[in-house]
Symmetry: C2
Subunit: 375 residues, 2 copies
């Protein structure tokens, strides 16, 4: 890619960013981010699946510096027309679910971001990997650890890099807490609570269909508490116990679709995490970590909006971006194009660990027993 093209690409992105959001305090702190043109490599992304979350990522990409939306895979021609207009996607970068393997012949696409219902992650990622392009998959990577591992293996075999859409791994306030933990500000970590959830509405959505989602709230929001506990504490759990609350609505929450699960994870250092995953209530979105010398809390902890948090030293200082996915995509570009390393890994192996924990939580709910883990 020549540097003139990069420059123009970058200028376009900046202009869009300025249109999208007023100059943020982040930008104000670092005027260079707006003033000096970005001159590095840019990840050219095709989004597969243009539902609600696909739209969010597309909007976020408008403000990214290192990543750019250039293509789309969709089964809805009408929606695609709209996207082409909105995001300036040329016809030659538009694919459907029958022909998207042809992306392998498209030199203007570097990566495919798979944003489809959970049950389609495996078949679509495995097909997409055959294009030789980098893959980003939404989480959960697989509906089971076995599926997640098959996806990882498939991408390895195809020789493509696989990342998973862990937006919180790049979220500034989460990273600020992790940096403080690594600097010893909390002392030895002793306890963690992670609550995630919301009251789910439409009973007919795929997220409430076991065959399509692989489970219930745990597959969607529970994973934030699981994953959050791991990166906040900085360890992987060695056991889980779990309890399921009675379902409030048998029509909404059918067999195999969990509404509310409480679960506990034990870590090698002795920390116990108590977590909540729920589709049955709002106002639960909170993380709390206790160490020997202090504490950290986030509330809200998982939402798309700006997070808030504090530690024993006062309010968190890191500035929340207008859209978390903008930073995610910039950072993923660095990983895929420049071999950068994420503070908290976002690779397939990370997702396999989360999937193993989810498998264990479901098993613990069924058996009522503590389930040992080896990640």
């Amino acid at each position: 890619m020549n540097s003139r093209r990069n420059f123009l690409q970058k200028m376009g992105v900046s202009a869009l960013a300025l249109k999208l959001a007023p100059i943020t305090s982040m930008a104000a702190d670092n005027p260079e981010a707006i003033i000096s043109p970005y001159d590095g490599p840019v990840l050219r992304v095709a989004i597969m699946g243009i539902g609600t979350y696909g739209n969010i990522v597309a909007r976020a990409l408008q403000a990214s510096t290192k990543a750019k939306l250039v293509g789309v895979v969709s089964g809805s021609p009408a929606k695609v027309k709209d996207w082409q207009t909105k995001y300036g996607i040329p016809d030659k970068n538009v694919y459907n679910y029958d022909n998207f393997e042809d992306i392998k012949n498209n030199p203007d696409i570097d990566a495919i971001y798979v944003i489809v219902p959970n049950f389609l992650h495996k078949p679509y990622v495995l097909r997409a990997a055959k294009t030789g392009k980098h893959i980003i998959s939404e989480k959960p990577l697989g509906m089971t650890a076995k599926e997640a591992q098959e996806i990882v293996d498939g991408c390895k075999k195809a020789g493509v890099k696989l990342l998973v859409g862990y937006r919180m791994h790049f979220e500034p306030k989460n990273l600020e807490i992790i940096a403080m933990r690594k600097a010893g500000d909390f002392g030895k970590i002793k306890y963690f609570t992670g609550n995630g959830g919301f009251k789910i509405q439409d009973p007919n959505q795929w997220r409430l269909d076991k065959a399509k989602a692989g489970g219930g709230s745990m597959m969607d929001i529970g994973i934030y508490a699981i994953n959050g506990a791991r990166y906040m504490i900085g360890e992987d759990p060695i056991w889980v116990t779990a309890q399921e609350a009675p379902k409030s609505d048998p029509v909404k929450f059918k067999e195999g679709v969990d509404e509310t699960i409480t679960f506990q994870m034990g870590f090698p250092s002795g920390v116990i995490a108590q977590c909540l995953s729920t589709y049955g209530m709002n106002n639960v979105d909170r993380f709390l970590m206790i160490g020997e010398k202090g504490y950290a809390e986030l509330n809200p902890a998982n939402g798309y909006g700006p997070l808030k948090g504090r530690t024993h030293k006062g309010d968190l200082k890191a500035v929340s971006p207008p859209m978390q996915q903008t930073i995610q995509m910039d950072e993923m570009a660095g990983i895929l194009l420049e071999g950068k390393t994420a503070v908290v890994p976002v690779d397939g192996e990370e997702a396999v660990k989360d999937a193993k924990i989810i498998d264990a939580i479901y098993a613990a709910v069924k058996s009522g027993q503590k389930v040992p883990l080896k990640l």
Copy 2:
């Protein structure tokens, strides 16, 4: 008691209250509390055990209107002298552990507040009950549910009223949340977390001696989360599960003395409570209750100092008293002398329920199994 004596008693108390603390906003809101003399019955209390907490209750009683410290039972003559001077206790109201049954012949004492290490609750309450005076016992009432029940039965047999020192049952911000829950402000309750604990220091104190305490943190601070969950949710649990974290210090936390236990309680309506009881860390003292329409939180939730809290409607408005025990003693006087009813019961049966839950938590830690409860 004639009304002149009541008037003088009351005036003395008010003068002390004014000396103790500057006019609180509570008093400022209700000038009558200071200006008009209290003319009702006054509970004349002898405190048994003048350790740290006995001292706190004695100080708190100085500001009570309906209760007054008049006597003491102690095995430390030197300490007693100091108390007599500080609190104006006449020689005739001073007893030791050999002769305190003689209180039965003392018409100037209405109640005995037993504030001794846990293993002495049963023998001392049963002996004190024989005086025919009302009994207030510190919590946990017994070291096991069996002991607690024996204490309840003993008091019943002796024909005396038994109350348990649940100071939080009268704490204004807790009561504000309970009133809001009863008014439907939170809708159906869905979830509760109660964390209680602190980093315990002196390894030689009786609280770290299984024979004297009956256990570890659960017997001291865990009970706040258990009890708090019950009165906040307004139900009694039907099962518990529990996990014990590895001990950080085998010298401090010997066999049978728990440092940190996480436990879960299931309630008839489907609510699950996740709780923490710990002697191993600070900054944990928090309650959170989630309902369908909103939430309530307290942080700190259990300390002696003023509690802080908020709901989805904003900060809690109830004014924290300078000392919670002042309100507790005033309210207990109303219960014992005027047959008033507490919003949250403080009787022996309440304590037996908590003791049954503690027994079940310890059993669940050992077995790793869910333990069903019938309270």
